[in-house]
């Protein structure tokens, strides 16, 4: 049955309206896929990621797209469920036929999606923290957030520079604390530092005085490190001050947010921690190469969403940006060529850090991507300003 004249007329009008509302592009769009956890328990990570991706792809299309073609973002929400993430990943490959993927909010959902992209030979830039994503290196898998290992190295660098060689460690038994403790133990030897006391606490513990007392009574300790996430580190910091321990306390990037200072109160004075540049966007030195990138992202994100920026949105910004740069450099939207260009990423200045990838390093961030901060008068102070 042929559609009636009225129907055909309406369709033609609709088609015309569609071409009029979007800028006129001659070519097919370049499809970039994404699966993030915009809802569900990980929404505080996934929501800023989704917003950033939409914002950035819109801005890109307004500037004329990529290689003269518009960019289409195919964005799915896995609701924090790794099984759904896997299904959407299959959909991106089989049905949407994306040329690259920038997404994956949690390590779990990323690991669930990796086989799909590896098998289809489509590059996948993950926004998740786990080091197992890029170690061992997989041909088509990259990631943007720093790992716990980088944070450990940053902290030990600072300790070494200050002449500390004997330290105590107290870590949370949650996923973050355990993972970071493991990474720190792996690299601590490289800095000539020995851990004299290695204590732990449960994620829900409301008092850590006994463990801290043990550390306090261990002779020779020059500094203490607390890998942890959530409220645990704030309790450790309070107990630390109550016990009157005088050696410096180091926290991890897991507490790099204003709520930590609020929770720990005056006890947080003097605490040192590594943090991404985004956290201290307004305090970066004038010559800092990341300053303009961070400032531009902060301004555009906060103007468009009326919400404060988060480091998680920053991971998404760098993820999509890396893919876009790779497509520009490869002058092609062929997945294999995009992958090769991604691996050859050199000196890309992003929000999270300055990326230089290689066949053996699909993260490409060094310790300089972290800034060493100290808490003074309830605010962050940059320890070594600029670079």
């Amino acid at each position: 049955m042929r559609p009636s004249a009225a129907v055909r007329g309406t369709l033609r009008a609709l088609a015309l309206a569609a071409t009029l509302t979007s800028p006129a592009f001659a070519a097919d769009p370049i499809k970039i896929g994404s699966v993030v956890s915009a809802t569900g328990p990980a929404a505080f990570l996934g929501d800023p990621e989704a917003r950033t991706l939409k914002l950035y792809v819109d801005a890109l299309n307004k500037k004329g797209g990529l290689l003269g073609r518009p960019v289409e973002l195919v964005l799915y929400d896995d609701g924090g469920d790794a099984n759904k993430a896997r299904t959407f990943a299959t959909r991106l490959i089989e049905d949407d036929k994306v040329v690259a993927m920038a997404g994956g909010t949690s390590t779990g959902s990323t690991m669930a999606m990796i086989p799909v992209f590896e098998e289809a030979k489509v590059p996948f830039v993950s926004f998740a923290g786990g080091i197992e994503i890029v170690e061992p290196v997989r041909a088509f898998v990259f990631k943007t957030p720093h790992t716990d290992k980088t944070a450990c190295q940053k902290i030990f660098e600072d300790m070494k520079a200050r002449g500390f060689t004997k330290i105590g460690m107290i870590s949370g038994t949650d996923g973050f604390g355990k993972s970071m403790r493991g990474q720190c133990l792996k690299v601590v030897g490289d800095y000539g530092i020995t851990i004299l006391a290695d204590e732990s606490y449960g994620a829900a513990d409301s008092d850590t005085t006994p463990q801290l007392n043990k550390i306090k009574n261990t002779p020779g300790i020059q500094a203490v490190l607390n890998p942890g996430f959530g409220q645990g580190p704030a309790i450790v910091t309070r107990n630390y001050a109550q016990l009157g321990i005088t050696v410096p306390l180091y926290q991890s990037h897991g507490v790099a947010s204003k709520s930590f200072i609020t929770l720990a109160g005056p006890a947080a004075e003097g605490v040192r921690l590594p943090a991404p540049a985004l956290l201290v966007a307004d305090k970066l030195a004038a010559g800092d190469r990341q300053k303009p990138v961070v400032a531009a992202y902060k301004d555009s994100y906060e103007a468009a969403t009326a919400q404060p920026i988060s480091t998680f949105g920053g991971y998404a910004f760098d993820g999509i940006q890396l893919v876009v740069q790779a497509i520009e450099k490869a002058k092609s939207a062929d997945p294999q060529k995009i992958r090769d260009a991604l691996e050859a990423t050199k000196d890309y200045v992003g929000v999270t850090g300055i990326y230089t990838m290689s066949p053996t390093d699909h993260l490409g961030l060094g310790t300089e991507s972290f800034r060493m901060l100290q808490i003074k008068n309830g605010d962050w102070v940059l320890e070594t300003p600029g670079q």
Partner: protein, 315 residues
């Protein structure tokens, strides 16, 4: 004639088999096969639950916990105990049945919805264990699952998994249909209608309920094992409370006590989120709204209502 076919015991099985054979012929890409395979797997879990809910009249609000047991069994068996993945699949389904027996035995002697509350707690405890026992389960990031090998053939690829899932569901549905028609099935139906009447005619009410609960747990664990093996990874949300609720919703939407209903309910809840991606921001609200509409307009569930309507037309 048609009415006779509709009433025949194995008609649903045949219809299911035909559907399973046709889908790969019309599916445009492997993505559709994966969605279909997920429907078969979740239908298997819902099938066990529909025996418990539709026949024994008990609700399990922690059924995803059993699914998680099966899934982590398949992951942990090869990784920590050196067992073969296929053996782990059967062992963990048996273990889930045993655990259901131990948990259900004291509770099911009581009348009322005690099982719902107990399973609610049980499911949450399991999800917590999966989340926090990082050394064994990999914690919140989940754990990798070794590939299943059957007689030297490594099962991989969406297409192969489609057939494995379809086969498992067919066998599960066949067992369920036979069970429903057996004396145990009749006893279960009797106690669903009236526990007093059932016990008056000599049905051991608590034992039959326990049997239904154990069967439900084994089905869920088997489905979980297949899910984990197909994805090659399992994370703790699979055992979470929301997942349990989804399973209950599958049974209610499809129609309690109907084998095909479990499949339709599973299809509804697996396919809908894929169909609603255009309205992603409102997905949860739309899903809730659709379920409400179904509950108001089709309180018996899709399949029993449709079946009744058809039979009335035909007679």
């Amino acid at each position: 004639m048609l009415a006779t076919i509709l009433r025949a015991r194995f008609t649903p099985l045949l219809a299911l088999a035909v559907l399973m054979a046709v889908i790969p012929l019309v599916a445009p890409s492997a993505f559709y096969l994966r969605v279909a395979a997920l429907v078969w797997i979740f239908a298997l879990a819902a099938l066990g639950l529909t025996i418990l809910m539709g026949y024994a009249g008990q609700v399990s609000l922690g059924h995803a916990g059993f699914l998680g047991l099966g899934a982590y069994g398949v992951a942990i068996g090869p990784a920590h105990l050196g067992l073969s993945p296929v053996l782990s699949l059967f062992l963990s389904a048996a273990a889930a049945g045993l655990i259901a027996y131990v948990v259900g035995r004291p509770i099911l002697r009581l009348r009322g919805y005690y099982l719902a509350i107990a399973t609610l707690g049980f499911g949450m405890i399991l999800a917590l264990v999966f989340n926090s026992e990082t050394a064994i389960t990999g914690g919140p990031d989940g754990m990798q699952v070794a590939r299943l090998t059957v007689f030297g053939w490594r099962i991989s690829g969406t297409q192969n998994w489609y057939w494995v899932a379809a086969g498992a569901l067919l066998i599960g549905a066949w067992i369920a249909l036979n069970l429903v028609a057996s004396p145990t099935g009749r006893a279960l139906r009797a106690l669903h209608d009236s526990e007093v009447a059932a016990s008056a005619v000599g049905v051991d009410v608590s034992r039959k309920k326990l049997a239904a609960f154990v069967i439900g747990a084994v089905y869920a664990a088997f489905a979980g094992g297949l899910l984990a093996a197909m994805n090659g990874l399992i994370t703790p949300e699979a055992a979470g409370f929301m997942h349990s609720i989804e399973l209950v919703a599958m049974v209610i939407i499809g129609g309690m006590g109907s084998v095909i209903g479990a499949v339709v309910g599973a299809a509804f809840l697996v396919v809908l989120p894929q169909a609603l991606t255009a309205f992603q921001d409102y997905e949860q609200a739309l899903l809730g709204l659709l379920i409400m509409v179904f509950m108001i307009l089709l309180p018996g569930g899709i399949v029993p209502t449709a079946r009744k309507w058809l039979l009335e037309r035909l007679s």
